[in-house]
Amino acid sequence: MVPTWLILSTTIVLLLLWLAVAAWVVGARLAHDRLVRVRRRDAGLLADGADPERWSRRRLWRTADGDWLRGSAEAAGELVSRDGPRLRRAATGNAHRRSHALRVLTRGGSTFAFRLLRSALDTEHAEVRAAIVAIAAEQQTPAADDLLLQILVDGSHPRSRTATELTPRARRLAPQLIDLTDHAEPEVRYWALMLLRDAPGKPGAKAAAVRCSGDPSGTVRSAAARLLGATRTGDVQHILRALLADEIFFVRAHAARAVGEVGAESLAGDVAALLADTSWWVRAAAKETLFLLGDSGLEAATETLEDVDGFARDGAREVVSAFRRETRPLELVG
């Protein structure tokens, strides 16, 4: 039916393919393990003062590229001084080589590095843009700060990821972030406020939050509420009171949490009223906050125990029981 030679030759081809893939697996793994070992050793040598000038390009490249190690900058610097023009050409080439060349140029302190990183942002390859953000995030320089802020504003990389990279430098960048809270795009204003939560004490941060508490965008108002909470100052209570009555549920929820964070005991009654909110998120935030407010929270919750609303009664009883003064089972009407 099927000639034997055909089955035999198919079998031989499959055998060879199987052996080839097996060799690939084992070979690639051994090569990887060796590379990790050798990189670590070489980076250590450079960090301890070895002279990179006598090293081959290949050896320098493998030390300069890859995860950041002590000694990577020395290797990259030597490569930049030896091969600058070639690296710059590679930094405008195809996607994969481009990212690596950009990293070496940046680590090596090339004067062209940030200009090349900026121009590479136009690429259609998402992985190159991700690489640019990561490369800039390694550098604690004003040029890196500016580039990351630019990427946050133009949205060429998911803003949540860019903001993650910006978090550790939020304190340093507070003035620029405060400026961004006036940006035309709500998403930029949102992320600027979110980042300012790591620098709430900086001059102008609280004022920006107060200003944005009246923003037309609900997400921006919620971020403003969170920033107000992070300021932990009591003089924002009137703003928080307004946000507790916001039309959007997540603004009310964040405002309720902010009340707890700033310890605004005078707002305990307003928060207790949220135990009857239509949104579970708001009710949950209100319960947490009442507990955080201590005696005033307990008092407000106790007053709500006889509320006409079932949600409010159960929420209040849960708060009271959390203070270990109420052990009756709940109605669980939710």
Partner: protein, 469 residues
Amino acid sequence: MSIVRDLVQWTVIVCLGYVVAVYGAYGAMITYSMLEERFRRRRRIFESLDRVRASTLTIPVSIIAPVYNEAPVVAASTRSFLEIDYPEYEVIVVNDGSTDDTLAVLLSEFELEPIEHFYRRRYESGPIRGLYRSRTHPKLIVIDKVNGGKADSLNCGLNLARYRYICGVDGDTILSHTCLLNGMRLALADPQRIVGVTGHIAISSRPEEALAKNGEPAKLDSRPLLVFQHCDYLRSFFNNRLGWTRLNTMLCAVGAFQIWRSDVIEEIGGFSTTFTCEDIELTFRVHEHFRRQGRPYEIVALADTVGVTEGPDTVRKLVAQRERWQRVILETVVSYRRMMFRRRYGTVGFIGVPFFVLSEVIAPVFELLAMLALIASVALHTLEPEQALLTLVALALMNGLMTSAAVLLEDRTSRVYPVRDLVRLILLGPLDLVIYRPFIVWARMKGTWRYLRGDQGWHKFERNARPAT
């Protein structure tokens, strides 16, 4: 006699056609998987988990772990959930009316105390008998409820989950320390679009012993049956799911590790209790929902091993597990058959579901037919014995090739197993066809038969034996 010979010949030809079609589909999917793996690897070279870990912007996650009669492993698995390296998360363990000591173990191991907690009932679920919080681990909440099945327990956990993302896990799964960082790193890349994330789970007879000190999977099980299952998981994950991700046609976010945006789960009404198993049905439902509405979304697979789960250590238990899987696949595919070849369902309707039908639904029929036809061909002298043997060797090598491709994809991402384990996996690949596959064929046939009879039982396999402590 000539009619029988003709029939056998035609059966062989049809089976050969099936083999070519199915391996062709696998080959295409491996190509897509390799492209996806390369894309991920290149992107990952420049990413740092440290910054995700340190950021106050990282989105919190609620882990929900239904447990039912998991006393031997529940303490270890819960501990692994609590040791996850992630900025903010909570662990909700749902004891689904266990009849063994599961709750007692949890009570003593984590110093649980009863609490009163007012929660919303967004999803219907069985009655709750008690709620507990740990004195020693503030992240941990334990729900004790009346038995209602895994989907019911997940729904119950959802009612108490506080965060925007939920991660459904199995109670017998030991999660690696970095599973959430890796999973949420993908979700964070585009939180508006990525609605679900799943990851590869390794197999061990005792998962609680399979992690290294750094919290990552470190060694293969020593028993061949477990290693064959490990190969099976590797193939189904790295050869298929990565490719499905590339085509945005992920068909099953595995129940042992499934991250979902909770608003999406709410939108589609939670986990379904009318199906035998919840994970594959939920994934199909998410596709159906978003594609029908023409909204952009993605369900993605991580190219990382996120944990180790307990695999059956005897053939009987393996057959019980796999026959259930076959029933679940049949239930889901039949229920969502309207998605096949419909334009509105895009790649899911034109590639995903047909691929599933080809490789899973009709596979047992053709596998059995092929075996019988091969034997009959030799008996009727339409095929020489050496030809039949060579055909078997060729098929075994094809299987070996698939396994090696999966091992390659896995190792390029994680580099967790020592070289000797990689060699072991590769060498066992071709033997899979003759040692392991017959049991799977039998289980699938049994599953198909039980599906046709309307069986919807879980038939949970017994826990593997452990030395007394």
